[in-house]
Symmetry: C2
Subunit: 369 residues, 2 copies
């Protein structure tokens, strides 16, 4: 996987925005969608960044993403709301929903907004982190197309259903617990396949629901396993977390849920008899200062973080890290040097540019640093 060059972050963001505008999104929506995708690339989560852009365009061409949605809000009680995203971009709907949750949490102390009739929302962290500058913890969950079989079943009943919490940490970068509720993400299987390596037991099962170490097993009707992998590893906990995310994002919001969640890929049609509208998300925020004065809180969270970082490593192990630290470090690098890309990452974007009659994204042949 040779790096061919670097996309300067700002230029890439503007190019992505132009793609969304070409789809018919408003300038405001296109800018938000571009920002959310770009954040994934900046943090090194390449599978969820501009690599997904052609997928969004294909779904729009199929009429499954609405570039000019009419948001519809429902609010029955003061600190909670539902946003019907009218099949618009989840990247934007989740942002808008989170910002509304933050507004309400500032008044009531905690608030939640659920989203139905949406699409993939990008990385959960980008939404959850909106809360942190407001001195709040933020969270974001989404259901996703079915890819996970609860242990002991042969059926894909749940998505990788991620949940993320972003926590203010005083003078430190925010803590970010952002996790799929499966044992491994799809991208790890793809990486193993590209290297012709078997995958560890505990990541996936075959079409019958039995353990498999084949990295291509998902293309053969297999499924991912929940976090925990097997009964010894307490796989019922990962199954429970995945079900919880599906329940909150899907069942409670009015979105589709479980095995009915519409696929992200355009070549698979949504199952008939949908039980709800599109994908669902659950976002929320809770104000730190509702519980402690901010100075006292900052001192406490810093003490907690530093104690963990100072822990004695086991022989042969590096010191512990806090959640989010590796991604913050990658982000600082990539803001400086640009976002590195390979031939496999460049080709689909150039093809997209050609299809839409746009210039290709600006690139540098070497790192800017």
């Amino acid at each position: 996987m040779t790096v061919l060059g670097y996309w300067p972050a700002e230029a890439l963001g503007l190019w992505v925005q132009k793609v969304f505008e070409t789809m018919g999104c408003s300038e405001e929506h296109a800018a938000i969608a571009a920002e959310v995708l770009l954040e994934a690339d900046l943090k090194g989560i390449d599978s969820h960044g501009v690599a997904r852009l052609p997928g969004y365009v294909r779904l729009w061409r199929k009429g499954r993403i609405n570039a000019q949605p009419q948001w519809r809000w429902e609010q029955r009680l003061p600190a909670v709301a539902v946003l019907d995203a009218d099949a618009g971009l989840g990247l934007v709907a989740a942002r808008v929903a989170m910002d509304r949750a933050i507004e309400m949490a500032a008044v009531y102390g905690t608030a939640q907004v659920l989203v139905r009739n949406s699409n993939h929302f990008g990385i959960a962290a980008e939404h959850a982190l909106r809360a942190v500058p407001h001195r709040m913890v933020g969270w974001a969950m989404t259901n996703a197309s079915p890819l996970v079989a609860p242990y002991g079943s042969s059926e894909r009943l749940l998505g990788t259903n991620p949940l993320c919490y972003a926590i203010p940490a005083g003078n430190r970068k925010p803590l970010v617990m952002d996790m799929a509720t499966s044992a491994a993400a799809n991208g790890k299987l793809e990486l193993a396949a590209s290297r012709n390596q078997a995958i560890p037991e505990g990541w996936a099962v075959d079409a019958q629901g039995l353990p498999s170490t084949d990295p291509l097993i998902l293309q053969k009707g297999g499924a991912l396993l929940p976090l925990g992998s097997d009964p010894e590893g307490a796989v019922h906990k990962g199954y429970g977390l995945g079900a919880l995310v599906d329940w909150w994002s899907g069942v409670l919001s009015g979105a589709s849920f479980g095995p009915w969640v519409p696929p992200f890929v355009d070549f698979l049609e949504p199952a008939p008899d949908q039980p709800g509208l599109g994908l669902g998300h659950a976002l929320g925020a809770t104000a730190i200062e509702a519980f402690l004065p901010i100075e006292e809180y900052n001192q406490r969270v810093e003490q907690w973080a530093e104690r963990i970082l100072q822990a004695q490593p086991a022989p042969g192990h590096p010191p512990l890290v806090l959640h989010g630290m590796p991604e913050w470090s990658t982000r600082a690098h990539r803001l400086q040097e640009g976002i590195p890309f390979t031939e496999a990452q460049k080709r689909p974007l150039h093809q997209l540019a050609q299809e839409l009659g746009l210039d290709t994204p600006h690139e540098n042949t070497t790192s800017l640093r």
Copy 2:
């Protein structure tokens, strides 16, 4: 482990209540504490039920549990509050906090109450489930004395820090996702030790932080591992969940946190220089009807539950169950037949009765069924 007899549930509950009253608890507090402990036994979670009663009494004798606490409430915003439990029983403080969260959620749609200066609160499910009759999802988390080493460290930095969500499920029993954030609970190691069996890799590490299969490793300075067990199993997720529970229950509430959380056993003193007050809990509730009319919700959650239950099992596997189903089934049996006990379970309660000058709990020699 021969069953010696059965304690009828109601009689056992009244006996436990009498023990708490002998400690000096009010009748109301004693009844709540007894109810919370008894629920654990009814559901088959014997490690968290009346087996812990002598532990509470020992902590009270040491002056570390206050039988007559003065609750102190802090409320800065409408939908959130903090309860300082004045070193009282967590069994009672968490109940009172949860009921306050439910009251606020009925008005605002969602609410949270944090508890500081508390003690062990029993099984999380008993608190979370309070929300369900009010047509709400309820949740309960608590930090706990340090017993878990994040993978790659030799230090016990976190407790088994459970989190629980209880979800209304229409015409079905509530769904209950109740899980320690460690790969295995302490009780599983004790069971393996009693059978002279090695434990699986991935449950625990030795005092250096290296993998161990010794069921007695916790007595030798070892530690439990977080859910996920190792990097292949995504142990950073279990570490993140354990840290999240500690942050919410401890750092944010004003309680102690991380390696400083006071031990439940009376023969270990709390670490000096405590960063906060006692154990902490985080409880909350969200009203279903803030999002969907209840009839529509019930239809959706039943469809979701039934789809999962109808999934095709993998060869050699039983059908899937939903979270909470095994415990509801045990509870129905034990309400009828009484709570079975062994010599090892009976002895400490009889000793406690003698110490306190009480009768021993009423027992039947055979099942009532």
